[in-house]
Symmetry: C2
Subunit: 120 residues, 2 copies
DNA sequence: CCAACATATGAATAAATGTTCATATGTTGG
DNA sequence: CCAACATATGAACATTTATTCATATGTTGG
């Protein structure tokens, strides 16, 4: 019966060993999905720019809009995404809402990304 | 003249200071773009799964396709993207092409991502 | 309470992206 | 060289996504 399905590159033994390892080390489907969703959030230069501003200070929405030369609406939509991913947190002070970084992983991830693209 | 353009949230002084800081610490436009492009690559669960396999071993395309239950074409397309970002490298051995991780940043970035989504 | 301001959000549009299918390229044994 | 295998790639389609515009929600001073 269908040996073909599991035969590949003429390396049946290595193949089966690989399948076993992958089976045990691969995270759950939901975690993989969540991971991809998280990195998608980093995958937009507007959001990256927002994060770089927040690296320096706690900032309100309209200051962000002005610093990045974008509309308040566009910034607000992106802040929503950043907040949903728990990369930023917000605090209301009167009419304004101030945003800041939610945790340290953001800096590490961005820093590692920069290192990667800068080598070679 | 247009004070309105630079006035915002009634915090003119803080605002100007922010603009100056942002101006000096914000990376170049091209670096921001490259950073976003890099993280986009991590923003797809198929590519994340490929990376998790490569965490364990150097693997050929057809084994990847089989381990992940996907077509050879789909895997090949994604490997191309991973390679363009220099996250993986390839080595031909006869008819097969073996892929492996290109550098250590990949592990760190994924690890930080996992930590982030797992806290709380 | 109301006007003015700050932020959030829904709908619409344009652009980017992942997979499939078909096919091309590249390699090896005979 | 040719057939069989492994991988790469182009075009097409469906889905996702960022921004804009209009408008809603929320807050404060008077």
């Amino acid at each position: 019966m269908s040996e073909k399905e599991f035969d590949c590159c003429e390396t049946v033994e290595i193949h089966e060993e690989l399948l076993k390892i992958v089976e045990t080390t691969m995270p759950e489907e939901t975690e993989l999905y969540d991971l991809a969703e998280l990195f998608k959030v980093f995958g937009d230069s507007t959001r990256i720019r927002i994060l770089f501003v927040l690296f320096e200070a706690e900032v309100c929405v309209c200051d962000l809009a002005e610093a990045l030369h974008m509309t308040q609406s566009a910034i607000s939509h992106q802040l929503r995404i950043l907040k949903q991913s728990k990369l930023v947190k917000s605090r209301r002070e009167g009419k304004s809402v101030f945003y800041s970084l939610a945790d340290a992983h953001v800096r590490t991830i961005i820093a590692q990304g920069r290192e990667h693209i800068e080598e070679d």
